[in-house]
Every structure is written in C-alpha cells, then in structure tokens.
C-alpha cells in the first residue's frame, strides 16, 4: 500500500519539479521564446544615438566547439576581457567537438534554434550546399562591415587564398581564420640520443632515413624502428609530398586518389602514377626489412604510440611536436631525447604535408540577418576577432596580466613561464588564450614565443627552406549533379586504392608483377574520367 502511494507521490513530484525546471530554463535562454534579442536590438540601436558610456552591451549567442583536452570555462580571462573591452554579452553554447557538426547541421538545416554566430566552421562538405540553398549569410556581400578582416587579409597577402573559398556563386559564406605563415607543427620525430650513440648524422633525405633505421634495427634486432601514430594516413600525408603526390584518406585535395601537379597546375591520377610506385617501393622496402612497424595497419592510438617509443620498441615516428613531452616524461632510459626534424628530401624535393593558410572561422546563419542590429553585430564580430587588439587577446591574453611588452618582445608572466605544463598549454588551460576555436589570427613569430627555443629553431630552419609546406590544391567547383557523380566515382576508387596500398606495402602484392593489374583495375573504375572532372571544373 505504502509503496504504491510513495511511487505516485514520487511521480507527481518529478512531474512538478521538471515543469518548474522547464519554466526556469525557458527564462534563462532568451533565445527561442523571449523577445530579448529584438528588445536588446532596438535598445542598442537607440543607444547609438545616446552618449557612448550609456550603451548597453550587445547581446548575441554563439556556438563554441569544445575539445575535451581544453575544456571551455566561462570565466576564462580572455572571455571576460573581450566582453568587457568590446562591450558585448556573449551567450556561449558549448558543444562537444565530437558532435559539433551534428548540432550545427541541425541548426542550419532546420533554421530552428540556430545561434546568432557559429564558430569553427567552413564551407566544406554539407555546408557548401546549405550555403547555396540560402541557409547561411553570404558574408562576402558585406565586406564593408569587416574592415579589420580585410586589413589582415591584405597584410598577410591572402587575397588569392580567400578567392579560393568562394563557392560556385562567387560568394564566400564565412570569415576564415588567417595564418601569416603555415606552422611546422609535426613531422619526423626520432631519438637524437641514439644518433649520437651510433655515430650517425641527422637524416636529410629519405635514403638517409633508411640508413638510420637500418642501424637502429641492427643494434636492436627486436625493435621496429619506425612506428606510426593513429593510422597509415598520418605517415602518408606527412611524407608523400616529398614524392610529388598526396593520396589516401587525408590527401591534400580530398579526392583521395588524385594529386595536384604544382608545376603544371593540373590534377593527375596520383594513385596510379610512377611517383606513387616510387613511394611504395621505398616504404615496402622498409616493411620487408622489419624497419616499419607491422602493426601500422590498425589504429595505434596516442597511448599505445607513446608506449612503443618510451619503452624502446620504436625509435622514430611521424607525429606532432606537442606529443614529445609526454613520451619523454614517461621514458625511463637515461639520456632519452626525442627531437623533431625538418622535412626530408625525396624525389620531388623536401616537403611536409600541405597546409592551407586559412582555417575554420565564423559563420552567420540566415536568421541572424533578420536582426535589426545585424550590421552592428557583424562589425562587432569583425572587431572582436580580427582587430589587432581583439586578436591579441585571444592569442596572448591581457597585457599586464599574462604578458608584458619589453620593447617589441613579449614577456610572459612568471607563473606561466615556470609552470610545468609549458607556456603554450598553461596559456590555454588557465586563460583560454590560443584556442583554435576563438583565435582567428595567427602570426607565426608571435606564436613561437610560446614554445621552447628548440621549436622556434626548427620552425626557423623550415621557414628558410624552399617551399617546405605547399598550399592546398584548389577545390573544383562542382554543381550538385557533378558533385554527386564525382562522389560515386570516388568511393570505389578509394576502396580499391586502400586494398592495394596495403598489399603493396606489406608485400602481399608485388610492385613489379601486379602493378599493371592494379592500374588496369583503377582505369576500369574510371580514374581518368574522375581526373577529367576535377580538371574541367577548376576555376579559370
């Protein structure tokens, strides 16, 4: 008896409380129900006629992509500083990065519950068709309202890169993040202490690398000197450019089986080219001689990868500079010293993975353009993210708190410099400075001050090389029909490529005997037509 009564009581209690919660939450998000945006809009447009100091802060909502390695905090110094200095009230909608695209896609597709501003977006993939169908504001039409952005583009010489972001209708739908120079943030990492121990020179070419690995193997027969991080795609994307190709899952142009000829400025079928054959010759040789980790076909996650390097099962890898610290901290061997090296020279010169000088940035959903204060909002966003003052806050924090200027040199606060996490990570975690999502202006020299001497040294070396990091090839302008056809060609081509790539690498297929059969198979799947489509739809 009593049990049933209590169950009913509990149920009514739940219903009651949840309705209360529902009410209160409705009042909290002035997004859907309450007329606050328009209210604040009218008040702020009136306010612009009143004296400056009486102005109410401009209120807007924004999607922020949250990475678990850098959890967002509302009370970060940079957020507080920006809100104070630019007189805005930002309602951050913090969304886990793994599902960010889902949430954005729903907001843009339905137009419901869309925020005023979406960060960390570009018009690749689905967003392109959403843009062409009018779900996103063509921000390039309002370039008069983005003076700071335009100035930065001119300063970095990115006019051409920017033009490449236009969609088929000749309009650009987002304000990308801007890089003055691409970073060399990852590449060949190997045990420097062992080079000295075995009397070897630092490798400059891929042949040198082969000799170094050979020596490592001879001294440590149970090891596999070269391992990979994540999957073969990481090795491919970082090494292929030196052989003049870029194919596979992370190929630079996204076609997965084509490559860009930087001299002729055309696409060619990279997956069946002689360059690729050459490339596979080299790596299958490593594999056959036990110099390359046979587990590389499976994903090797960060932990496993660290274990292999820390315990001396491997001595070299292609990975990122940020990851060296973790491995060195865990290694027990005396004198353990991992170092990153500039890109190695291959048949096509010394190149690292291609990089774009623009990245993900700010996007406005269609609904935002209906705000009475839309112009004011765009100008504000431009100021917050792209002005000298604003971009410095997102990158360095607040002057006088996180850093001081000594002439033109940046001096970080003592507690940051002495933190065990290092300057870069401490700035991120404690102050929110240097987050990919909010920092939209990247000045290489300025960023380098956050790292150790060694890293800036390597970056300087790389910057002095000839074209070490090439530009991302131009994306063809497909209309919906062509895009559909291209996609239907791409998938079987890529699947076949994957199977054969694995076969060639591990020696299950012979590069001498089976190569022609592979080429024929790819031609059957119309790789030539696929290439033609790419070349025909390039922007003239």
């Amino acid at each position: 008896m009593f049990k049933k009564k209590s169950a009913f009581l509990a149920l009514s209690f739940v219903m009651l409380t949840s309705s209360l919660v529902a009410c209160s939450s409705k009042n909290n998000n002035g997004e859907s129900a309450s007329p606050s945006p328009s209210a604040s809009a009218s008040s702020s447009s009136q306010a612009s006629t009143t004296p400056e100091n009486a102005e109410k802060p401009l209120k807007f909502s924004l999607f922020y992509s949250d990475n678990a390695t850098l959890p967002f905090k509302e009370d970060w110094l940079v957020v507080q500083e920006v809100e104070k200095r630019f007189n805005v009230d930002i309602d951050f909608e913090v969304i886990p990065i793994a599902d960010y695209q889902t949430k954005v896609s729903l907001a843009l597709n339905t137009g419901n519950n869309a925020p005023d501003v979406i960060l960390y977006q570009s018009t690749k993939g689905e967003n392109a068709s959403l843009a062409l169908n009018g779900a996103i504001v063509p921000i390039s039409d309002y370039s008069d309202w983005t003076p700071n952005f335009n100035a930065k583009v001119a300063e970095f010489g990115l006019e051409k890169d920017l033009a490449d972001l236009n969609l088929k209708d000749g309009k650009r739908y987002y304000l990308p993040s801007l890089f003055d120079k691409p970073f060399y943030d990852g590449g060949l990492i190997l045990r420097q202490d062992l080079l000295a121990k075995y009397g070897l020179q630092a490798p400059k070419t891929f042949d040198d690398l082969y000799n170094v690995l050979k020596k490592f193997k001879a001294e440590n027969p149970d090891s596999y000197p070269l391992t990979i991080l994540a999957g073969p795609r990481v090795l491919y994307r970082m090494t292929m450019p030196s052989f003049g190709i870029s194919v596979g899952k992370n190929g630079a142009d996204g076609s997965r089986t084509l490559s860009w000829d930087y001299e002729k400025q055309t696409y060619f079928p990279g997956a069946i080219s002689d360059q690729y054959k050459e490339y596979m010759k080299f790596f299958s040789k490593l594999y056959a001689e036990g110099l390359l980790d046979p587990e590389m076909a499976d994903p090797i996650d960060g932990d496993k990868w660290s274990t292999k390097l820390a315990t001396g099962k491997s001595f070299a890898s292609y990975a990122y500079y940020d990851q060296i610290g973790g491995v060195e901290g865990a290694a027990t061997e005396a004198g353990f010293d991992l170092q990153m090296f500039p890109p190695l020279e291959g048949p096509a010169g010394a190149h690292h993975q291609q990089k774009s000088r623009t990245g993900a940035g700010v996007m406005f959903p269609k609904k935002t353009a209906d705000r009475a204060d839309f112009e004011q909002l765009v100008k504000k966003i431009d100021e917050i993210f792209f002005s000298e003052e604003g971009s410095k806050i997102w990158g360095l924090g607040a002057e006088g708190v996180t850093y001081t200027m000594d002439g033109d040199k940046i001096k970080y606060a003592d507690e940051i410099v002495n933190s065990p996490n290092g300057i870069y990570k401490t700035m991120q975690l404690n102050y929110g400075a240097g987050s990919d999502v909010t920092q939209l202006v990247w000045v290489n020299a300025r960023e380098m001050t956050k790292y150790d001497e060694n890293y800036s040294q390597i970056n300087a070396t790389v910057a002095a090389m000839k074209d070490p990091i090439q530009a991302i090839p131009p994306t063809p302008m497909f209309d919906d029909m062509t895009a559909e056809e291209a996609a239907s060609l791409q998938t079987p081509l890529y699947d076949t490529f994957e199977v054969w790539a694995d076969g060639f690498l591990t020696g299950k297929k012979s590069l001498d005997k089976d190569w022609d059969k592979y080429v024929k198979e790819m031609q059957m799947l119309q790789i030539d037509r696929f290439t033609q489509m790419y070349n025909d739809n390039l922007k003239k």
Binding site: A22, T69, K73, R237, T307
Partner: protein
Amino acid sequence: MNKQRKYRPLTIGDVLINAFMVLVVLICFVPFLYMLALSLSSPEAIINNKVSLFPVGLNFEAYHQIFTYPNFFKAYGNTIFYTAGGTLISLFMSALFAYAMSKRFLKGHKLVMMLIVFSMFFSGGLIPTYLLISDLNLTGTPWAMLLPFALNQFNLIILINFFRAIPAEIEEAAIIDGLNYFGILQRVILPLSTPALATIGLYTAVFFWNDWFNGLIYLNTQQYPVMLFLRNIVNGTAMVGDGAGAADKSTIAMSIKSAVIITSTLPIIILYPLLQRFFVAGLTVGSVKG
C-alpha cells in the same frame, strides 16, 4: 525461498559448469577491473605497460581532473534526474497503455497494435523529429528528454503480453468485490507485475542513463547529460572538416578516459543487483492460493 537443500556428491558435470560460470563472470568483470586499475595508476606506469589488474603507482590525479571539469557534476545531476524522471513517467504511461491494450474485447485494439508495431520499424527520421520537438516548444527544456521517449514499443509489447497472461479469474473476483478498472490496475495487476515492471524499469533506466544523442540535439549546455561528457572525453578528439591532423594531435590520457568510464557507468551497474530480487520472483506468486 531458502529451503534447506540436501547435499549430493559433486559430479564432474557440476565442476565443469561451475568453472564455466566463473569464466563467464571473469569475462564480464575483468575489463572493469582493468579500467579501474588504469584510472588509479600513474601515467608513467601506463605508458610503460606495467598496469594489469591492479593499480601501479597509485594516484587519484585522473579523478581529480574530471571532477574539476566545468559542469561535470551538474551533468551528473542532470543524468540522475533524467533517469529517475524518465523511468517513472515511462512506467506510468506504459502501464496505463498496456493495461487497456491487454483487453482483447476493446474495439480498435488491433488497429492500435498495428500502429505500435509500425512505428517500431519506421520513424520520421532525424530532421522531421527534430522539427516536431522544436515546434512543440520542447527544445531547451528537460521535457525534450523525458516525453518523446516515454513510450517504447518493445517494452509496451512485453507488458501487454504480461498483462494478458494474468488469469482473468483474478480480475473477475476483483470486479465482484466492487473494484473499478483503475482500482484493479492499481491494487491487483500492478502488484502482480513487479517482475515485468522491474525488467522494463531497468531497460528504461539504462536507456535514459546512456542517452546522449537526444540531449545533444535538444538541450542547452547547462542541461547536458553526463554521457555527452564521456563521449567527448573518450573520442573527443575526433575532428571534422579542416586540418587533417588536428585529430591525431591532441590525445587524452588513458587514465582519464578510464576514470570517466568508471564514474559514469558504475551507478547504473549497481542498480542491477538491487532489482535482481524482482526478476527471480515467480509470475503469479501469492495470487491464487492453492
């Protein structure tokens, strides 16, 4: 229940069966033990592959770190609320629905059954559903988590069949004693259905506990369930769009992943033994006395 059993000599069969059951228990239990060990070990020990089933270099850093995640406890509270509220609402509505559906003499019950089964296999799809919830003004409120998923067709069918299996004589006796249908449901049917209700309750609770997707699409940051956190931490470095590479760049320590898995799955696992006694109870225990 606890009758004294006479012991008979152990046979080889008994030994084999028991050994096999112990193995099954281990298969279920060891992964958890390993996760627990990882979450309590030092990063050095993990990277150097020293951790097996017991923590090496005991440290609570991982737990300390996740407890300092902004909103972690808030999200935890949200999940407990959704689970408790969702399960109660779901049982309440399912019981009312199923009891009516269990009466074969009701007109149209076949049609309703068809509707239930049809919606089991075909749904509107993501965007129509989203638009519906959004037009009902449920987005951004906890109701978006609780209401749309309160009725699960599969559970309903289980419950309907369970109610149908209860002998009609019991109900007839109750009617003669002057009970109306609500009274019968409350005083006769539901007390007899504890095994079924416990089973469905457990299914539903587990569903609400694990449900992250609906929370993601309908709710605001402050209302997220804890499973979204877990997802973000366990595969939170998956990166979309630009910069092939950022995904492989930032990694989260194994100890933290394990700690999050342990903290977010333990409560629902503890729930199971508590419901165990209802599963064992027989179907019509104590209703018709022989």
